[in-house]
Symmetry: D2
Subunit: 141 residues, 4 copies
């Protein structure tokens, strides 16, 4: 499991005094971007040199407890399944190890960046992902 | 069904050339705010004079097709169920009447604004909502 | 003077209970986009068919009074000067006609979209802009 | 001079392929928040226990070069002047030590959080700030 720390700033909060719910969607994406980076993949390079982007097709979100200004959060990324053209994740945001803020399941599709049509994840990329996570996660979803 | 129009600006797009997925969560919220306003409820007033806020507890999101800069979108709000302390919605974003961009089911809880604890939706508010939507939607979810 | 109305939503506010200062920068940009649209220019078309984007080079911002959730704001756009490769604006955000929220002067450069290098504003575009605003504004800044 | 590192994500970019100009305003604010934290001040605590917030009154922004997805940026904070009720900063964003992306001068006013009226910066806070920066910066602006 990959974990990325981040801090809550004023920009993340709303007039209710807590983090605006859509900001958690940003936080989940930052952690997935850092997970990809930790595997050696840079998304601007994927887009410009390999005409590849990942697009989010579906998300299920649970907002469990409110985070607030100054909170130090931990965002996790667990790969549930890697298909030939898609990745599925489960992600959690915690404040303390035992204090869950939000959860998400995320379905990301691999697309040709210039046409937005589905394409296969390159074999080398899929293999790099498979090496990094338990074997059970890399079967076809 | 309530429909709110909005326009896509640069702020809504990302380097992939399409609307950033979290922005749709904002768009859904703008339409719910306008739906509440259309029923006569102003959220700042609800917060400051009635110590009441709605918080999103869960969302299921489907991103069907990408929207782009300059697109004119229509965001719908349909109440699925009104409980004593929560509202459930289904929402869609269309570009053309037959061109679906994104869908969401949204579970909103009524909270005491100062404590973030669940509270009942005031009876008058629930009645006003019930008058505005088909009777089947206002049973306990 | 061009004026664009907009509404403040939760997404625009922060934990201080007022609009987050960077959001006014968004509001100013929405109004400039609508001003361009009112003159017949669509920015996605300018980017994709004419390889042209406007980029903001400098802004001076004054935050005069706080706006809040639910506020109905009016954002103005006045062209100060149109040069061969740049436009300068002054913009204001009002809540009531006599209640100033924020002001900005904005310097926008015309760029080749694919290279981000400065380029001339097309003559037909400059002429269309000149027709729409007082002659004094369309001299070289 | 205080420097805070941050990473550019998709959320920060726009359809022009570069960081959306308003996002730099966020980046500047994150660095000021971390500067305050480095001096021992937590803004939620200041708001809730001392009824104190800082609000931005004015900013001058220069956007020098575009940043892009995946860029690692450094945001600096230099206090120019500390008055009895306000702080003035100059801030820069660099990609490489010699590659300037954006600059800002920022005027922040100290306010009573509950009324948004100007108030003095607490003497202990002003002293803590004075200890952390060159003496010339802590005179009345």
């Amino acid at each position: 499991m990959f974990v990325w720390p981040l801090r809550v700033y004023w920009e993340d909060t709303d007039g209710g005094g807590v983090v605006y719910h859509a900001r958690y969607v940003h936080f989940f994406e930052r952690a997935r971007s850092e997970w990809l980076r930790s595997l050696g993949f840079h998304q601007l390079e994927l887009q410009q040199q390999h005409d590849l982007v990942f697009a989010i097709r579906a998300m299920n979100l649970e907002f469990v407890a409110p985070a607030r200004m100054d909170d130090a959060l931990q965002v996790s990324v667990s790969l549930l399944a890697a298909g030939r053209a898609s990745l599925r994740f489960v992600q959690h945001i915690h404040r303390q190890p035992d204090e869950l803020i939000a959860s998400a399941t995320v379905y990301a599709a691999c697309l040709t960046a210039s046409s937005f049509k589905p394409r296969r994840i390159p074999a080398a990329m899929l293999q790099r992902i498979a090496e990094a996570v338990p074997a059970t996660a890399t079967e076809n979803p």
